[in-house]
């Protein structure tokens, strides 16, 4: 049942130009500004670094370039994809269709979330394939790439969970997109303002703080549990919000 809903969302994504355009655009952005620029600069900068400790591998150089950029590009892309998930159904009154079907609210919300995350997984898979293609000319550090991919996946899934929740709050997709963007931007960026105090409470809540270890190739259970809790919290809030529809009308 969950996958029927997820399949419907994925289909909706690809039945309008929206999905294809975003997929192509993201790939183009990652390729041009992340991948090619990274490969290009690598030789310029590395030829200037004479001392061994200044040198770094091509995987780390290009990888950190791409994955850092990806986290910020996704900050814009995910709200655009998540905005219509529930708000549009509310606006067109098609939510009744799902509510009347023998589905629990959790199944509806999870279905929508999984549908969106599957789309984003395609984006990340393309990104991973692009950077792995360097392996044709040199030896890549696949452990480093895997850690980054996993980190990016959890980061993007968290974005999606928040996007789904915000989408359930309003009838206007655009408003949902704007609010999700602002909320995500705040969560991503506010650790920058509190950088002077490394033990500040806010640092523990910042999404970027928990993505950062992955981008160094470090898998930490604390970060995993943070992302899973984040996703769980916002999906639960979404279920509660939809339940309020039924209770309050």
């Amino acid at each position: 049942m969950i996958f029927t809903v997820a399949g419907k969302e994925l289909k909706a994504m690809f039945s309008s130009p929206m999905g294809w355009v975003i997929l192509a655009l993201l790939q183009a952005v990652f390729a041009h500004f992340g991948f090619f620029a990274g490969v290009d600069q690598y030789f310029n900068i590395m030829s200037g670094s004479m001392r061994p400790e200044q040198r770094m591998g091509v995987t780390e150089f290009v990888g950190s370039n791409i994955f850092n950029m990806a986290s910020f590009v996704m900050l814009v892309a995910v709200p655009l994809l998540s905005m219509r998930l529930i708000s549009e159904e509310r606006k067109n009154q098609t939510l009744t269709f799902l509510f009347s079907a023998p589905l629990t609210l959790t199944e509806i919300v999870l279905g929508k979330f999984i549908g969106l995350v599957s789309f984003l997984t395609i984006v990340i898979a393309f990104l991973a394939a692009m950077i792995s293609s360097l392996n044709l000319w040199t030896d890549m550090d696949f452990g480093y790439i895997a850690a980054n991919v996993i980190g990016l996946w959890f980061l993007v899934a968290s974005f999606a969970a928040l996007g789904v929740f915000v989408s359930s709050l309003t009838q206007q997709p655009i408003i949902a997109a704007i609010i999700s963007f602002i909320a995500l931007f705040a969560l991503l960026a506010f650790d920058q303002y509190l950088a002077s105090d490394p033990n500040s409470l806010f640092n523990h809540v910042s999404l970027m703080r928990h993505f950062e270890p992955f981008s160094r190739g470090l898998l930490d259970t604390r970060d995993f549990s943070y992302f899973i809790l984040f996703i769980f919290t916002f999906l639960t809030l979404t279920v509660r919000r939809l339940d309020a529809d039924r209770l309050r009308g």
Binding site: S16, F97, S100, P102, T104, R246, G249
Partner: protein, 310 residues
């Protein structure tokens, strides 16, 4: 196996301090068609939303085939097919995609999917529209897709909120025939404010006004009320009213207009024959005699206004 498919007990819904539906209770048996009548804003749609589990009642319970929709919504919802006021259709899908989605969400197995879809499309006259985008269909066809998605999983109870809105007369006739057909094996609840429609397709009628049931009974009872025991009589040279009252069975006589009289008689004692004989032998100049029907509209107005006087 009980034959009661829908059991509503003291359904009440309040929005803030505003009671929209108050103490609505009824039973519906298998194979019956229930018509839900009421003026705008009477609480028809709210009641239907509660029956389908789209809205939680403030008090009261709904049981579908004995399964409580609040305690066990998944099992209960599987037995219902619901068409809300606005057909809930994904405009970006084709008719086939939409129906297959509806079927799969309602647990139709892959093996039966094709058969169920063909049957639903045949019943709703959608065979030629299979590959069309719902967005490009006319309002009438969209309404049909709405009905098709409600009946695709062969539910025990079909709940239709104003199903004939926006259809042309031929389609309306088809849909009414379909509703009658559905009534054979399933229970159907439909809301409408088209009164003849209720008379045509329903076995049971409920009239709801300001959130309360003001009439709940078989359609025959309503018809009885409608036909009354009245004759409309036209006499060119009418005698004194006392003269007419002498005829056996007549209870009262009142003039209507243009030499027309309304004659009320005791139930089962139709005085038509005696009246004609008397008119001929006394040369009253009879030019008209017919049963006097109050229109369904009048009954409806009576019922809804009685209530507001209380």
């Amino acid at each position: 196996m009980t034959t009661i498919t829908v059991e509503a007990r003291e359904l009440t819904r309040m929005y803030g301090g505003n009671t929209v539906v108050r103490d609505v209770s009824f039973n519906l048996n298998k194979g019956e068609v229930l018509g839900f009548l009421g003026p705008n804003g009477a609480g028809k749609s709210t009641t239907m939303k509660m029956l389908t589990g789209n809205l939680a009642p403030t008090y009261g319970t709904v049981k579908i085939c004995g399964i409580d929709i609040i305690e066990n919504p998944k099992a209960a919802k599987a037995l219902i097919g619901y068409l809300p006021e606005l057909p809930p259709l994904y405009k970006e899908l084709t008719v086939d995609e939409m129906l297959s989605l509806a079927a799969r969400l309602h647990g139709v197995t892959r093996a039966h999917l094709k058969k169920a879809m063909t049957l639903a499309k045949e019943r709703c006259g959608l065979m030629e529209m299979s590959g069309r985008l719902i967005d490009n269909l006319s309002k009438g066809y969209q309404q049909r897709v709405g009905i098709a998605q409600a009946i695709i999983h062969n539910p025990m109870v079909v709940i239709l909120d104003e199903p004939t809105v926006g259809l042309d007369p031929i389609q309306i006739r088809d849909i009414r025939a379909l509703i009658k057909e559905l009534g054979g094996e399933h229970s159907v609840i439909l809301s409408t404010h088209i009164l003849p429609e209720v008379e045509m397709v329903c076995d049971h009628v409920q009239i709801i006004h300001k959130g309360q049931l003001v009439f709940n009974g078989a359609i025959e009872v309503l018809k009885q009320q409608r036909h009354g025991n009245k004759l409309l009589l036209g006499l060119h040279r009418a005698p004194d009213i006392k003269e007419l009252m002498k005829i056996n069975g007549i209870v009262s006589v009142e003039p209507v207009r243009d030499k027309l009289l309304r004659v009320q008689y005791q139930a089962g004692k139709d005085p038509a024959e005696a009246l004609v004989q008397a008119a001929v032998s006394n040369d009253w100049g009879m030019f008209h005699i017919s049963p006097d029907q109050t229109s369904l509209e009048e009954v409806f107005v009576q019922l809804t206004q009685q209530e507001s006087e209380h």
